[in-house]
């Protein structure tokens, strides 16, 4: 089977500022890919390019023909001036029946909020509601931008478990943006770490030991790492690699920039 999404040498600029450069990635059927990186690393921009909401300045994004994507955006604030029950929110995405909406809400374990106003549901319920709307697309690929945002730690673990089980029951792939590698580690097939450019990619254990990952996430990351390489470059405040300041590198780390 061919890849669902193929990103080749993608670059995106906002004015003179380079948000993303030389990003390559693929998403294979049935795979759970976690996209991690610090704030401002361009994670949401990359997601928007994959969804086709923005055109890259260079490189390409190819989606397999007819690919159905369920998208869960980040930080959705619904105007309190808009009276909107949860079931109506679910039906906004397309032509779906009441029964389908109810089933989707049951699947995410939030059937209680069916008639509740969107402005009154809790953080965790809100994220489940978004997930239900994404499921209504009958997705082959779920794209989740920070799905556990505004959810307490216990709820975060539950949500990640839910996402994992939905992936299995629907047989879909998942591309998930996350801040925290720890929580997603067990369920993730592949981690892609970006900071404007592609820092490292691979199995979660490998990434957690990768010097560029350690450099990005610092102390916190080192707690889970088994050993530590020296990083072979520095990042500027905008995430660009400052090659001129590269310190003595461990050439075995396999992390080079062209």
């Amino acid at each position: 089977m061919s890849s669902l999404v193929t990103v080749r040498d993608l670059g995106f600029k906002s004015g003179p500022r380079e948000i993303l450069s030389h990003i390559d990635l693929t998403i294979e059927p049935g795979e759970l890919v976690s996209l991690i990186g610090p704030n401002g690393a361009g994670k949401t921009t990359l997601i928007r390019a994959i969804l086709g909401l923005i055109k890259p300045d260079s490189g390409s994004v190819t989606r397999s023909p007819g690919l159905s994507i369920g998208y869960m955006p980040q930080r959705l604030v619904i105007a309190p001036t808009l009276p909107l029950p949860v079931h109506r929110f679910l039906a906004l995405g397309g032509r779906v029946s009441q029964a389908e909406c109810r089933q989707a809400l049951e699947e995410v374990g939030a059937e209680d909020i069916w008639g509740t106003q969107v402005s009154q549901v809790s953080g965790g319920e809100f994220q489940r509601m978004l997930l239900a709307r994404a499921l209504l697309r009958k997705p082959e690929l779920l794209v989740l931008d920070e799905p556990v945002q505004a959810v307490d730690v216990g709820g975060q673990t539950e949500l990640y478990a839910l996402i994992g089980s939905l992936k299995d029951s629907h047989g879909c792939s998942v591309l998930m943006v996350s801040h925290d590698l720890h929580l997603v580690m067990s369920a993730t097939d592949r981690v892609i770490c970006i900071n404007g450019h592609l820092c490292c990619a691979g199995h979660p254990e490998d990434v957690s030991r990768d010097p560029s990952y350690l450099n990005l996430f610092g102390e916190r990351a080192e707690n889970v790492a088994l050993y530590h390489h020296h990083h072979d470059h520095h990042h500027g405040l905008d995430g660009r690699v400052l090659d001129g300041q590269a310190e003595n590198s461990d050439s075995g780390s396999g992390h080079h920039h062209g």
Partner: protein, 266 residues
């Protein structure tokens, strides 16, 4: 009842019925200032109509649609913030319109009638305009209702789900231009935006779905027209502003009403 009064009530209710649902979207999308800008541009349309010598109603529609298209084109572009740009176009077209009307030097033109409306002078032809345009606007709004609501909630999510965001937004702006041009007859250029937002804001308290809010806004708007015209006749006050004052009372009453909808904030 006098014939002019029947026409006035019919015109006012015709406008209120369309302004309700449209005003709900204006409130949800925070476009009150945008409505004001469209209305102000109408005076420029009148001036151009006077100078070029064609039908003033057509001039108003043309100016509103032109400004709506221009605003759609410059939306979110450049170094000038959106509200600044709206302010420039809003007051720029109003001032330009006032100057141009004076320049046209038409002695028979009653400027106040355009600024504050002249609902008691509505003619049978005006009524046909209002109801024709109102029907088109309502039909247009009904057709784009679901995707427009989806875009209002979250533009990226709607776009990712395949909603034609640009087409829908443009259609919405054109519908708004039509309604503003029609509503101008009733409450005038300076108070058109009030007829859009006040009934819709008053309806929020009583609504649990978007459609309820749209219908209740139309009802409150219609009641405001009747109450305003009644007050205007008995107290001998200007009709357009009296209608807006009635709507304002409606809004204040809605704040005192028990909370039907779930507008409570956590």
């Amino acid at each position: 009842m006098d014939e002019f009064l029947i026409r006035a009530v019919a015109a006012g209710i015709g406008v209120a019925v369309v302004a309700g649902p449209l005003g709900a979207f204006v409130v949800w999308r925070r476009m009150a200032f945008f409505g004001d800008t469209l209305a102000h541009s109408a005076l420029l349309g009148i001036a151009i109509g006077l100078l070029a010598g064609f039908n003033l109603t057509i001039g108003v529609f043309a100016a509103c649609i032109g400004v709506a298209l221009a605003l759609a084109g410059i939306r979110g572009r450049g170094a000038i913030a959106g509200d600044t740009m709206l302010g420039i176009i809003s007051h720029g077209t109003l001032a330009l319109g006032l100057v141009a009307v004076a320049f046209a030097g038409s002695a028979g033109l009653n400027l106040l009638a355009y600024l504050f409306g002249d609902i008691l002078a509505v003619t049978a032809i005006d009524l046909i305009w209002i109801y024709g345009v109102g029907a088109i606007a309502l039909a247009g709004l009904a057709i784009i209702w679901r995707p427009l609501l989806a875009i209002t909630v979250h533009e990226d999510l709607a776009a990712a789900e395949g909603a034609p965001v640009k087409t829908i937004n443009l259609t919405f702006m054109l519908v708004m231009a039509l309604v503003v041009a029609a509503a101008m007859k009733v409450v005038g250029i300076l108070l058109v935006a009030a007829l859009l937002i006040i009934p819709a804001a008053a309806a929020r308290q009583f609504a649990r779905t978007p459609e309820q809010m749209a219908v209740i806004a139309a009802l409150i708007g219609g009641l405001s027209v009747v109450a305003g015209l009644g007050g205007s006749l008995s107290l001998d006050t200007p009709a357009g502003p009296s209608i807006v004052v009635a709507a304002l009372f409606g809004f204040i009453l809605s704040l005192l009403a028990p909370n039907f909808g779930a507008s409570k904030q956590r």
